[in-house]
Symmetry: C2
Subunit: 161 residues, 2 copies
DNA sequence: GTATTAAGGATAGTGATTGTCCTTAGTATA
DNA sequence: TATACTAAGGACAATCACTATCCTTAATAC
C-alpha cells in the first residue's frame, strides 16, 4: 500500500499557492511547470482540491487557482482527504462471517474487532495529519530553504499570477 | 490507497492461531477454510508472516503453522509490517527539486518538509498499531462473540491441529 | 470575437494486487 | 521403504487502481 503521487503533488501545489498575491490566481500550467509534472494529470488533483473547497479556481486569461482559506486554516488532512477520499485505509470484508462455527442466526452486534483496531490506527494517522497546517509547512520550508531561493520563487509565482 | 486484503487475512489467521493447542500446528488448508479465502493465495501471506518470525511452520502430515511467540508479545504492527513491509506509506519523489528557482548547486541539507510531515503521520499510524497486541484482540473478541461460538471454534481448531 | 482558463468525459498504458498452478523438499505414519 | 501430507517458493495470468493523454464544453478578460 502506498499513497498516490497526486497526494504529494497536491501538498506541494497548496504550498506554492500560499505564495500567490492576494486577489490573484495561479494557473495549472505554472503549477505543473514549477513541479515538473504533467499538466493534464495534475489538473485532476487540483479539481479534487477545488471540489473539496480547499482551493478555488476561476476562468479566463487571468484565471487559475488560489487557496480558498488562509494557510492557517488548511490542514494536511484537508488536502489528503480531498485527493484520497475520506474512506478508511482499511477495508473490512467481514471474513469473520465465514466462520463455520457461526450459526447464521447470530446477530453481529458490533463491528469486527480487527477492523476496530485498524480503524483506530487510521484515525491516529488522520489526527496527525490534522495537527499540521499549511502555515506550519510554510514555516518549516522557510527554515530549510535559503532566503534567496525563497524570494526568487515568490517572484516566479507573482510573475505568473 | 487501501491496505491489501492479505493484511485482513493475516490478522484473522493470527487470531485463530492463538487458539491452537500447545505443541500443535494448524495447516493452511484449515485457515483458508475457516475464513473462506483461497488457500494458495493465503499461503503467500502466511509465508510472509513466517519469514518475519511472527509465526512458524513445520512440514509433514501433522504440520502447519503456529504462533512463534505468545499472543501478548505479538502486536498488530508486527503482523501488518510482515505482510505490507516496513516502508512508509508516503513515498517522496523529491519534486521540490524541479523548482526552476533552485540553483543546481544548492545542497538539500534536510529531507523535504512535506515528506517529514507525512512520515510523522505514518509513524503515528504504526505507533497505534504497535499499541494493540494479539492478546488484546483475543479479549475484544471474547467480549463480542457468544461463549458457545467461541468454544465451538476452539474445538474446530483443536480437531484440525 | 479571440485567447485563455477550469471542468470534466473518454480512453489507453502501467504497475501492483489477486489468484492459480506447479515443483521441490522435509516430516509423520504404516 | 513407500506413501501421504505439509511448507516454501517460482512462474504465470487476471483483475483493478493509478497514471497519463486527449478532447470537448463553458466561463472570463481583453
Amino acid at each position: 500500500m502506498i499513497l498516490k503521487n497526486q497526494i504529494e503533488w497536491a501538498l506541494h501545489c497548496c504550498s506554492l499557492l500560499a505564495a500567490v498575491p492576494d486577489g490573484c490566481y495561479l494557473p495549472t500550467k505554472a503549477l505543473a511547470e514549477f513541479h515538473g509534472v504533467p499538466k493534464e494529470y495534475l489538473s485532476k488533483a487540483l479539481q479534487a482540491l477545488s471540489q473539496a473547497g480547499v482551493i478555488e479556481g476561476t476562468l479566463g486569461p487571468t484565471g487559475g487557482y488560489r487557496l480558498a482559506r488562509r494557510p492557517s486554516e488548511i490542514t494536511f488532512l484537508d488536502i489528503v482527504e480531498a485527493v484520497e477520499g475520506k474512506a478508511s485505509t482499511f477495508a473490512c470484508t467481514e471474513i469473520r462471517k465465514a466462520n463455520p462455527c457461526l450459526p447464521s442466526k447470530t446477530k453481529t452486534s458490533k463491528t469486527c474487532a480487527v477492523a476496530r483496531v485498524m480503524w483506530k490506527a487510521d484515525a491516529a494517522w488522520r489526527e496527525s495529519l490534522k495537527s499540521t497546517r499549511l502555515s506550519d509547512l510554510a514555516q518549516m520550508i522557510a527554515e530549510d530553504v535559503p532566503p534567496e531561493v525563497l524570494a526568487k520563487s515568490a517572484e516566479w509565482v507573482a510573475a505568473r499570477s
